[in-house]
């Protein structure tokens, strides 16, 4: 018995020790508990998954274990997330508890129950693009682009910033609240062709395609040439969207990623294209400039405070010379002069341009410049701050040279510096407008910089001090020659531009005080510049197509130009083709085709060496004039127009034709083109070197040439040769289609094959009367062809109509 008891007691004792030991392995004494990585901030209406909360349990023996609330079967006293404020929840386990304090915020910063998100708004530039690129609802207005619906473009050199905003409606206060830089989520889709199907990008594909951060999108090299769709949703976790239509909570943006494209949001960003003017623009970039005698180029390096724009990953100057396109996203919501909100297109700011572009009263040549316009009060008061050209004495300081290089050579192109200037000059960069606009402001405040020319470069007989001729363009495109001698191709597309020099109706008295000249739009030295789907108005001249070295070439396609003070195109030799475009309302002839100089009869030059323009019959060309407009008055051409509306029109009446349209008691002619020599040589000549104008104006349709007016057509060559030997002969020659008529001063003639014959009203008259062509070229000279003074022939192209 004793022994059995002892065994039982031992067992009990063992069990008494063992059981608690075993029991404590499953139910150890808990020393403390803690919630692992608790979230302490929530929004009203959020919920907490308490069962999944991780709890770290530390036991008295310093061991620990981490399990979920559910696994521990812990108890939870829950927090109240139904309203804004401070609250807490408590977890209890093993006799211990832990409390987590949390803060509950209202959703999306819209703090009042009576404020509703009513609109999710895309950035202004994208709205502007959509409205400008939308189809016409009726007849196309002059403010509308010819081609609608061109794909929005985005560059991949720097970030594309697309910041939506949201409007909340405060019904109590009867006002709106605008939330800027709304939190968004984005889905990204891409396709290889415009008509292809989109594929959503996710994961690694997405990361390799675009980096998205805070409403900015940086596309990779691999994204270049791809069509992209972004579906940008307002973050439903951040805002109360209960009253926002689901359709309106997502903004869809479709675009084409352009390789080498730099995204521009303001004027300083646009200056990245100024690879031809590093010296001038460097101070605004915060950069230093040094001239490299070996490369003959300016090198840029960081100054003390280099500028870095929001969209950029490096300093601005580092992009100069390293981009192929500037792509505009520039329309903004701003304020008008009254402080009221208004969509603002990019308006150039003269105060944010290089100092060297403008006259200053501290310039050493300022006094001389002022003296050249003495007595012209309108100009004297405006010299300070005006665009700087040389003095009116033929010895101009070449500001282009100062801006872009030493010596006479333009560093990047190897061609000589010249009198033309541009606010933004490039030999590398094309411009994609995305239907945005650039405006040259006309506003003027005395003492401040402005975009007028007051003293022009030189006196070639084509200007007077009171009427300066500008040599400043907004854009200047230069030719590039790479190692292979090839030439770059440039585009200016989907862009609207407004200048500061509309046609005027200034009286002679006002003219006596001097009339500043506004800007030109583009000066081109390239052989391959295309204007595609552009809109422009109110420039002194829209395009100066200059020839420097080789022949310059411009294409104008689907573009519209209006209301120029002078001409739409001034050609110095060069080639222009125009297709499906509308050019209406120049103050002078629509086009000047100038052969420049250095062509003489004895050298047997061809028309191809002069200025050549080809226009399709789908284009509308109009520049109606009485001859009394300011331009004609300025350039002493009033009387010439009077000859058209008077005696010439009478002559044409014999053929049942007219070149005159009457309105308001005035007679107008549509002067389309003047094919001339250098303007200063128009009235002059000498017996030894007779200036010989080369050039042509041609119209075409799908079938071929409709009209071709050439300064060396067979008839004209023959007649001019005859005129040289006959003191009495200085014929005015008329050409319509293939019909010619001319007069020697006494008789009218026409041609029968190659033989001249008297004009027969019964046959020749009928041919002229029934001819269907709508253009006439009048070949004439301004002075006698006899003796030792032989002025060159020039041609004037006008519209001709059937006499009703």
């Amino acid at each position: 018995m004793k022994k059995r008891f002892s065994v039982i007691l031992a067992l009990v004792m063992i069990l008494a020790v063992a059981v608690p030991v075993m029991a404590s392995c499953d139910n150890k004494q808990v020393k403390e508990i803690a919630v692992v990585d608790p979230v302490t901030s929530y929004k009203v209406g959020d919920s907490i998954d308490y069962d999944s909360l991780l709890i770290k349990v530390t036991y008295e023996d310093d061991t620990s274990d981490t399990k979920t609330v559910k696994a521990l079967k812990a108890n939870v006293t829950k927090a109240d997330l139904s309203k804004e404020g401070n609250t807490s929840y408590t977890v209890s386990y093993g006799g211990k508890s832990v409390t987590v304090n949390i803060k509950v915020d209202a959703k999306g910063g819209i703090v009042d129950d009576n404020i509703q998100v009513s609109a999710f708004i895309e950035p202004t530039f994208y709205t502007a693009y959509k409205t400008k690129s939308a189809a016409s609802q009726g007849e196309e207005a002059r403010s509308e682009f010819r081609v609608k619906g061109e794909t929005y473009e985005v560059g991949n050199v720097n970030k594309f910033i697309f910041r939506p905003s949201a409007t909340g409606l405060d019904l109590d206060e009867h006002k709106t609240i605008t939330v800027t830089n709304v939190k968004t989520t984005a889905k990204v889709y891409s396709k290889n062709t415009k008509d292809g199907a989109y594929t959503e990008l996710t994961g690694e594909d997405l990361a390799n395609f675009v980096a998205i951060d805070d409403n900015t999108y940086k596309f990779s090299q691999g994204a270049a040439g791809k069509y992209v769709k972004l579906e940008i949703a307002i973050d439903a976790e951040e805002y109360d969207l209960s009253l926002l239509e689901e359709d309106n909570s997502v903004i869809t943006v479709e675009m084409l990623v352009v390789g080498g494209g730099y995204n521009v949001y303001d004027q300083l960003g646009l200056s990245v294209m100024c690879d031809m003017q590093k010296k001038a623009w460097a101070p605004l970039w915060g950069a230093e400039v040094t001239f490299n005698a070996t490369t003959q180029k300016y090198d840029l390096s960081a100054g003390s405070k280099p500028v870095r724009l929001e969209a950029d990953d490096k300093d601005l100057y580092e992009y100069v010379g390293n981009v192929s396109w500037v792509i505009l996203h520039t329309a903004k919501m701003g304020v008008d002069d009254q402080g009221k909100p208004a969509v603002k297109q990019l308006e150039l700011n003269a105060n944010q341009m290089p100092e060297t572009f403008f006259w200053s009263s501290t310039d050493t040549e300022y006094t001389t410049a002022l003296a050249s316009i003495k007595g012209l009060s309108n100009l004297e008061s405006k010299l300070d701050g005006s665009l700087k050209e040389g003095l009116n004495d033929g010895q101009h300081p070449n500001y282009t040279k100062d801006m872009i290089g030493d010596g006479n050579i333009v560093a990047e192109t190897g061609i000589g510096a010249n009198m033309q200037n541009g606010l933004f000059a490039s030999c590398k960069v094309s411009i994609s407008g995305n239907y945005n606009g650039i405006i040259v402001p006309k506003t003027y405040k005395e003492g401040e910089r402005h975009f007028d020319v007051v003293v022009d470069w030189g006196d070639n007989g084509d200007s007077k001090p009171s009427d300066p001729i500008p040599h400043w363009s907004v854009f200047q495109i230069h030719m590039t020659q790479d190692a292979a001698g090839l030439e770059a191709v440039y585009d200016i597309k989907n862009l609207a531009m407004t200048g500061n020099c509309a046609k005027d109706n200034i009286s002679e008295d006002e003219r006596k005080n001097g009339t500043p000249a506004g800007m030109m739009m583009v000066n081109c030295y390239s052989n391959h510049l295309t204007f595609s789907n552009t809109l422009s108005d109110r420039f002194y001249t829209n395009i100066v197509v200059d020839a420097f070295g080789d022949k310059t070439g411009v294409n104008i396609i689907n573009s519209k130009m209006y209301d120029a003070y002078s001409n739409m195109c001034f050609m110095w030799r060069s080639k222009i083709t125009i297709e499906n475009s509308e050019l209406i309302g120049a103050g002078g002839p629509l086009f000047i085709l100038s052969d420049g100089n250095d062509h003489f009869v004895q050298d047997n030059h061809t028309d191809a060496e002069g200025a050549n323009m080809t226009v399709d019959t789908k284009s509308t060309l109009q520049s109606y004039a009485t001859g009394n407009e300011s331009w004609y008055a300025t350039f002493n051409a009033t009387a010439l127009v009077g000859q058209f509306t008077g005696p010439l029109n009478t002559l044409l009446g014999n053929f049942g034709k007219t070149i005159v349209k009457e309105q308001g008691g005035l007679k107008y002619v549509n002067i389309i083109a003047a094919i001339i020599c250098s303007p200063g040589d128009l009235m002059s000549g000498n017996s030894n070197n007779l200036i010989d104008v080369c050039g042509s104006f041609t119209t075409k349709n799908a079938e071929g040439i409709v009209e071709e007016f050439k300064m060396h057509n067979d008839t004209l060559v023959k007649l001019r040769a005859a005129a040289q030997n006959d003191a009495k002969m200085f014929p005015v020659i008329l050409q319509v289609g293939n019909l010619f008529a001319f007069t020697d001063g006494q008789n009218m003639f026409t041609l029968d094959g190659t033989t001249q014959k008297p004009f027969d009203p019964a046959t020749d008259g009928v041919a002229w009367a029934t001819d269907a062509h709508d253009k006439i070229c009048v070949y004439m000279s301004a002075a006698s062809q006899s003796g030792s003074s032989k002025a060159p022939y020039f041609g004037v192209v006008l519209d001709i109509y059937k006499n009703s």
């Binding site: 009513s118 609109a119 708004i121 959509k130 409205t131 939308a134 609802q137 207005a141 002059r142 403010s143 905003s165 409007t167 409606l169 019904l171 009867h174 709106t176 605008t178 239509e245 359709d247 309106n248 997502v250 869809t252 919501m333 909100p341 208004a342 969509v343 297109q345 650039i438 405006i439 609207a496 407004t498 046609k503 109706n505 200034i506 002679e508 003219r511 108005d537 109110r538 209301d563 309302g585 009485t626 009394n628 407009e629 300011s630 008055a633 002493n636 009033t638 009387a639 010439l640 009077g642 000859q643 005696p647 009478t650 005035l666 007069t743 001063g745 006494q746 008789n747 004009f759 301004a782």
Partner: protein, 143 residues
């Protein structure tokens, strides 16, 4: 053609081109284009049995009005152009909406008819110039 006509033509031609000063140069005023500088709303009223004039307000997005929503809501927006003698008074009104069906339509130049409740963004654009002024106008219907 009579010889006398030809001679008159040539004499006048020579005389006028070479001796321009005799004829004088007088610039005759012609129809210079006066461009629109500004578009402003003048009044906004609802077209219903209880027609009321709405208060035009401004926020960073443009002009706006709040209007109690009712089925068939119509809103009439009147505006003025500055300067008043602008040459081309044509204004294009566009409903700006992110690719979806807008909650209203424009029945004539000034009247907006709502087909459902929802904010609408209108843009008024001058038609005389490439970079002409615009006016952004929002209508916010509410219950």
């Amino acid at each position: 053609m009579k010889k006398s006509t030809i001679l008159v033509l040539l004499i006048v031609f020579l005389g006028s081109v070479l001796v321009v000063g005799i004829f004088g140069l007088r610039a005759v005023p012609y129809e210079k284009i006066v461009y629109v500088q500004e578009i402003r709303p003048t009044s906004v009223v609802t077209k219903s049995a209880n027609a009321q004039e709405l208060e035009i307000q401004i926020d960073p997005n443009g002009y706006y009005v709040l209007v109690p929503y009712e089925e068939g809501l119509e809103v009439l927006i009147n505006y003025e152009l500055t300067p008043a003698d602008c040459t081309n008074k044509d204004i294009k009104i566009t409903i700006v909406q992110p690719d979806k069906n807008p909650p209203a339509i424009i029945t004539d130049r000034n009247t907006i008819v709502f087909t459902r409740k929802g904010a609408i963004h209108l843009q008024y654009s001058a038609q005389d110039s490439a970079s002409g002024p615009t006016m952004d106008f929002w209508i916010y219907p509410y219950n």
